[in-house]
Amino acid sequence: MPSTYKAPEYPYVTPPELRAGGVAKTQVAIVGAGPIGLAAAIDLALQGIDFIIVDDNNTVSVGSRAICYAKRALEVLDRLGCGEPICVRGISWKVGKVFFHDKLAYQFDLLPEPGHKRPAFVNLQQYHLEEALVDRLAALGHAVRWRNKGIGIEQSADSARLTIETPDGNYGIEADYVIAADGARSAMRDLMGLEWKGQVFHDRFLIADVHMKGEFPIERWFWFDPPFHPGQSVLLHRQADDVWRIDFQLGWGADPEEEKKPERVIPRIRAMLGDERPFELEWVSVYTFQCRRLDRFVHGRVIFAGDAAHQVSPFGARGANSGFQDTDNLCWKLARVLRGQSPASLLDSYDRERVEAAEENILSSTRATDFITPKTPVSRTFRDAVLSLSQRHPFARQLVNSGRLSMPTTHRGSALSSLDRDVFAGAMVPGAPAADAPVRVRGGSGWLLDELGGHFDLLVFGPVAPQWLDELQRSLGGEVRLTLILARPTDKVTADVRVIEDVEGLMRQRYDSVAGTVYLLRPDQHVAARWRAPRLVEVLEGLVRAQGRGGH
C-alpha cells in the first residue's frame, strides 16, 4: 500500500429510481468514472447537457497506471477548468535522455520554444488526477453514482437502455446516448460482443513505484541494456510526492508472480540506484502490453472513448492522453446533436477523426515496441547498431525509438475542415489543434488557449475595417464568438468585439497571419478553416461545414 497516498472512499447513495421502481431518464449515460469518463462528465456539465455517470467501484484508480500527461491533454483539462491543480500537483518536464550500456546515447527536448502556457509533460499519479476530476465535477454540482455497475445494454433507434447493478438491486437508465469509457477491459464492449482487434506483445514489464529522495533531474530516462539490468530496458519517471516510477523490461519468459516479490524487486532497484539510499516500495505489478482497437467507435447510440475504444503500449504516453482528446472531440458534437443544432451524422466525424488518431497512436506505439523488444535476431542487430551509432553520429539518434511521445493528431482530411484556398505556412492547417501564445486580454496578460474553445471561435487578425467586423457580428453573432487579434494596443477598435493583443507577435508567427487573415476554430480548439481575406459567404460555408450541416 502506498505510504504517500490514501485513496478516498466515495459514498454509495441509493439511486432514487430504485425506490421509485422506475427507470432513470437522461440525455447521456457515462459508464466508467476513470479519467476519460470524468472528463466527459465535466465537459457535458459545462455545456448544460443532462447526464448520469456510473462506476462499479467507489474510489479512484489503484496502483501505478497513467503517469504522463501531455501538453494537449493539459490544455483540454484547462478548458474543463481543472488543469491548474493537476499542473501544480504534478512534475513538469520536457527533456528525455536515452542511455545505451553505461553511456548517454542522445537526448531530446519536447518543447524547445517558449511562449506556451503548458509544458510538454506533467507527471502525476493517476489517482491524484482522478481525484482532481471528481472534485471539479462536484464543484459543478454533480456526483458519480459509485458502486453502480453496468451489466446490460440494449438499444433502439432513438435511445439506449442500460441495466445497472447496485448493492440494493438493479435499475435501468434510459439515455439518448451512452458514452462507454469503462477502460481497457470494457464490460460494455463485451456485452455488445464487439471485436477487439490487434496484437499482444510477447514481453513482460515490471512496474515499481518507489518512494525515495532521488537526485535524478526531472527528465525521462530510458536505458537500453544498462549494466544494472543487462539485456533489457529500464524507464524512469519522477511523479509527485517523491514517488518514482520505474519500468523494468523482463522478457517473455519471466514469471510474473515470482518477479513481483519484494526480494526480487528490491535488488533490481538497488542495482539501478547504485547506492544504499533508503527507499520504500509503494506499488509493484507486472504487465504485458497490447495494441488493439475497435473497428468503429460509434455503435448506434453507444459511443466508445479512451481505452475502451483503443489500447496502446505505455511507451509514448498515448493512452490517457488520446482518451482526453476523444472526449474533447466528442462532447461538443454530442451537445450539438442533442440540442438539435446539428444532425446526428456529426457524430460520424468523431468516429473518423478518433479512429484516425487511434491508428496513428497504435502505429507509433507498435514501432516503439518493436524497437524496445526486437522480435527477431536481425531486428535486434539493427536495433543495437542504431544505438551504438547514436553515441557518435547524430543521424542515428533519429532512429532511436524509446517511445515517440504523445502529440495530438491533426485531422487533415476531416469532413468538418475546409480545404485551404489561400497559401499558408506553418502547422495551423485545417484539422490541427490550435497553438498557444502569450496574449493580453481584458487588460492583463493571459494565454490564447484559455480564451478559446467551448464555442466556435472566429479570429480576425487586425487591423480590419470596422464595417467588416460589424458584418461578421451581425451574420454570425449567435453561432460564433468573434475575436479581433491586434498586434498593438494602440490599434484603434471601433467595433464592439472581444479584442486579444498578440503582445509578442507569436500568434502572427504561429498562425502565419497578416491583417485580414481569418481563422475559424471548433469548440475543441481545432482549426476548421482559414482564409487570407474571405468573403462573408465563405466564412458562412466554412461554419456550416464545421458544424456538420453541410451535407458533404
Binding site: 542487430t381 547498431a385 551509432l389 553520429h393 542515428a396
Partner: protein
C-alpha cells in the same frame, strides 16, 4: 531521386576488397553488427525514402 543500378563506383575492385577486409577477424555476430552499421550509415547518406524503399525491394527481389 530514383534508385541508380547502373555502374556508379569509381573504384569497384577497391571497394569490394575494402568491404571484405572490414570483416577480417570478426565473429559472425560482429560481422552482422558491422553490416547493420554500414547499411544504416549508407542509408542516411541516401536519405530519400523512395530510393531506400526501391533499394530494399531490389535487395529482397531474388529471395522470395
Amino acid at each position: 531521386m530514383s534508385l541508380n543500378t547502373d555502374p556508379n563506383f569509381d573504384r569497384p575492385d577497391d571497394f569490394y576488397q575494402a568491404l571484405i577486409d572490414a570483416h577480417a577477424g570478426l565473429t559472425e555476430a560482429q560481422s552482422a553488427a558491422l553490416n547493420a552499421r554500414l547499411i544504416l550509415l549508407l542509408a542516411n547518406q541516401v536519405g530519400d525514402f523512395d530510393t531506400l524503399r526501391a533499394a530494399i525491394a531490389a535487395a529482397r527481389e531474388a529471395l522470395d
